[in-house]
Every structure is written in structure tokens, then in C-alpha cells.
Subunit: 264 residues, 2 copies
């Protein structure tokens, strides 16, 4: 394999990044072609190609098919877990909270809404019997027409099958949690498990990612007051686009929880 | 550049993974050499090399200098944010909670404890004046002698300078938060911001990672009852080793919080 000295292509990468930062290559614009850059900078096309590879991995540019290499235009989006689910009570869909906060145009595109066979790991998380189906609500979210996440929400079919609103993209006031509450299964508690991995082929296509750009995978689980898991939503999100925010109050020590009478 | 057909090296990668899964190549053992594998499987060495590259990126094997390519031996570690900080009240260091739960040998190695100039982003998070120093407690955590994270904890020097225990690797009962409480600045609330990125050279070396293996970067901030940020701890953790767990109670709707008298 041809090996360019690491220092040179890293240097070219840094140079291109600084040109993006100082506005020489504005957000959303096309980068000059690799030939042009090689000529201007007096290096080989291979070196330019590897330098641009670095910028693709870090999300500073992306390759849009039929267009070319485009400078990143979306800012980093903050996802505050508590805030996003609390927002549904005020009529904002959880999926669109973050984009609206940044004055980005948000859009949700449903890929599938309907009965589906439950993937084994989801069945386990929902406590479903083997073979028990789910309602799948699968969607892609966009900000300024750029894909920001895929979200697949699974709900037990036995609970949701009678609810027409849950078969619609817009599930009504308070979203699908509003409908679950009306069905007597409103969520009161959430957990999220966050991992990071490389995107599969579908995700690369849908989220406009390279194979080398990591994605967050979040398993969001909603629980009822009876501690029954009532929804699993799997979010797949390009790592370079997002900062995840969580917060909590410190847990008092067990000793303090069971304070002895003389301390009261 | 020489391009092996994607399907072939991906197939070899899948084969090697299945051999790891079924115990042909046990956890912690050496993989056969690339030459041996190429010969056995009837493919080129380049193909084997690219296949092993896939396994390195996903964390299924790692290259140990002077040893060779070793099959992953650590299980995935779950980091439950609330639980890990609550555990300090019972005498377990936050850093060692997760490893002990899996019966792994945990170990903390301090790289630096002392006064340091505060990085600008940390100063901003701590609300420090320009030029105000911090106490840095920097450490590497290990499970079964494999590095699992780097954690750099910054505390305002103005508050911590008189506390001898905070200059020691073992800061005493309840760790550094115990000492902060004694100094009148005990934390009562935490936030964490989670991002993902590629490791820098130092992190690759310390955490035994390739350039293509993403790391979590967590900014953990502790707040006092007066809402003063009192600690920033930056955790850098190999993505393939960790699952991050967060949980919270749903926030009641504003309407319900201010319930009208007739609803009571």
C-alpha cells in the first residue's frame, strides 16, 4: 500500500480546517477539487485525498453524491434528555426540540408505521413473550434538510393495536406518550443506554456518513408507574453532530436516608 | 491505492469474529499471524490485514506492541452515572465501581496531582477568572491491567489549596467529594455532556487504541447547593469498552405542577 508520510497529510488537513474556520471555504460551500488543491498546495493528489479523509471522519466536510465535497453547515446540536421529553407537554415533539432551539428547520419523515415482528433484544427490553409483535414507528429526522438521526420506536402491539392515532405520523397532543397515558400506560420514568459504533450500510446512506464516522446508538426505554417497560426507542445519531446532556441530583447516602431519631 | 473487494475482507472479518465467538481463538489469546491466516484461508495478506483492521476498529482484537494481535478479553462495562457517584457514600471509589461489579481487578494510577494552569474551556465551565489556577487530579483506570479510561479532574485552587488529603491519590472517605463537603462545597447535583471523537496520539498510546477507534469524552460537572460548579472531570473512554447508562423521572407538565384548586 502507498503510505504518505503522516505528518504531511495531517498538515494539509489542518490547513483545510483552518480555511473552513476563517471562512475561506464557507459553511455549505463546495471544497475545491482534489486536483486543484494538489496543484495549489504543491502536494500529490493522494495526500490531498487522505487529508480530506480526515476532514470527512471528523465531520468537517461530507461528500454529497453528484455534488462534491461540501463544507459542514450544521452546528453541533445539544440533546438535553430531560428537557426533550418534558417539552412534549408543551406541544413540541421530542424529536424537534433541539433543532428548533438552534433556529434550524426541523422535519420528521416517517419510514414505517405498523405492526412488526419484534427484534429479540427489543422483546427482551420490553418483557414481551417470544413471537409477540410490536407497533414500530420508524422515522428519520432532518435539520435544514440534513439527516440528523434515525429513531425506531417499538411499543407492545397488545396495548397499542386499538389506537388509531398511533398509526398516524402525528400521534396528537403529547405525541405517542400522550396516547399511552390515555390507554392507562403513561410513562413516568426513562432510562437511556448509550453506546458508540460504526454505521452500517443503510445508516451510511440515510445519514450521509462514511464507514469511518462513528454513530451514537441510544436505547431509550420508557416505564409506567407500575415499572413496566412500555416503549423502546433506538436512536442512531451521527457522533459529530451531537452532544448528549444528562443531569441528576446526587443520591443521599443510605445512612442519611435512614437517619436515626436523634439526628432529626 | 490497492483496493481489495470489500466483500472479501468483510467476509474474512466475519469469519474471524465467529471464530472468536465460538472459542477457536479464546479471549486474551494471540491471533495466528497474517501469513498463517492468508495461507490457511487462501487469500492475500493484504485481505487478511484489512479484515484484521475491521476487528481492531470494533475492538474485537488489539495490537499489543512486542506481542502481536490479541483477542479482546474485557467484557463491555456498564457505567451507571447515578450509581457510580452514589457508591462513594459506601466507600467505593467512583472510578472502580463498574469494574468491581464485573469481578474485574480494578486499579487507578495517578499521573499528576497538583496545581495547574486551567485550560480555557475548563475555566469557563468552572466560572473561574482568567489565569485562576486549578488543582488537577489526573489518573488512568485499569481493569485486569487493561486501560479503561483517562480521567482528569479539575477543582478550583482557591478552594482546595489548603487541603492536604486532596494532594494524595487516596483522598479519604467519600473521595474528593467528601473533602469538598468538609470545605463547605459539597456537590449536590451533576451534569454530564457526552461527545464522541477519535483519540489523539497520547490517548492512543495510553488507552491502547488505534487512530480509528472512537472514544467517549464525558464532561462531568459537579454543582454545590448554591449552584456553583465545583468540579469538572473529563473522562476519555474507549467507545467499544463502555455502555453509558442514565435514568430520570419524567418531568410533570407545567399545568399539572400548578394544578387548579378544583383538581385537588
Amino acid at each position: 500500500m502507498i503510505e504518505t508520510p503522516r505528518s504531511q497529510y495531517v498538515q494539509i488537513g489542518d490547513l483545510l480546517r483552518s480555511r473552513i474556520k476563517d471562512g475561506t471555504y464557507p459553511a455549505g460551500s463546495l471544497l475545491p477539487s482534489e486536483d486543484q488543491l494538489a496543484k495549489e498546495l504543491g502536494v500529490s493528489r493522494v495526500t490531498v485525498n487522505k487529508a480530506i479523509g480526515l476532514l470527512r471522519s471528523s465531520g468537517d466536510v461530507k461528500v454529497r453524491r453528484g455534488t462534491g465535497t461540501v463544507v459542514r453547515s450544521l452546528p453541533r446540536i445539544h440533546r438535553d434528555a430531560q428537557a426533550r421529553y418534558a417539552a412534549r407537554q408543551e406541544g413540541t415533539g421530542a424529536g424537534e426540540v433541539e433543532a428548533s432551539k438552534l433556529n434550524l428547520n426541523s422535519r420528521t419523515e416517517y419510514r414505517h408505521i405498523g405492526k412488526t415482528s419484534t427484534p429479540p433484544a427489543v422483546a427482551e427490553a420490553l418483557g414481551l413473550r417470544k413471537g409477540e409483535p410490536s407497533l414500530l414507528r420508524s422515522r428519520v429526522l432532518y435539520a435544514n434538510d440534513e439527516p440528523t438521526q434515525v429513531a425506531d420506536s417499538y411499543l407492545p402491539w397488545s396495548i397499542t393495536k386499538g389506537c388509531a392515532a398511533l398509526m398516524e405520523p402525528n400521534a396528537g397532543t403529547g405525541g405517542s406518550y400522550g396516547r399511552l397515558a390515555e390507554l392507562g400506560h403513561g410513562p413516568v420514568r426513562f432510562t437511556e443506554d448509550v453506546t458508540v459504533r460504526m454505521p452500517n450500510n443503510d445508516e451510511q446512506r440515510i445519514l450521509e456518513l462514511d464507514a469511518a464516522q462513528p454513530v451514537f446508538e441510544i436505547w431509550h426505554v420508557a416505564y409506567t408507574a407500575e415499572d413496566r417497560p412500555i416503549e423502546v426507542c433506538i436512536h442512531v445519531m451521527p457522533g459529530h453532530l451531537w452532544t448528549l446532556r444528562y443531569g441528576w441530583d446526587d443520591q443521599p447516602a443510605p445512612k442519611e436516608r435512614n437517619a436515626s431519631p436523634d439526628r432529626q
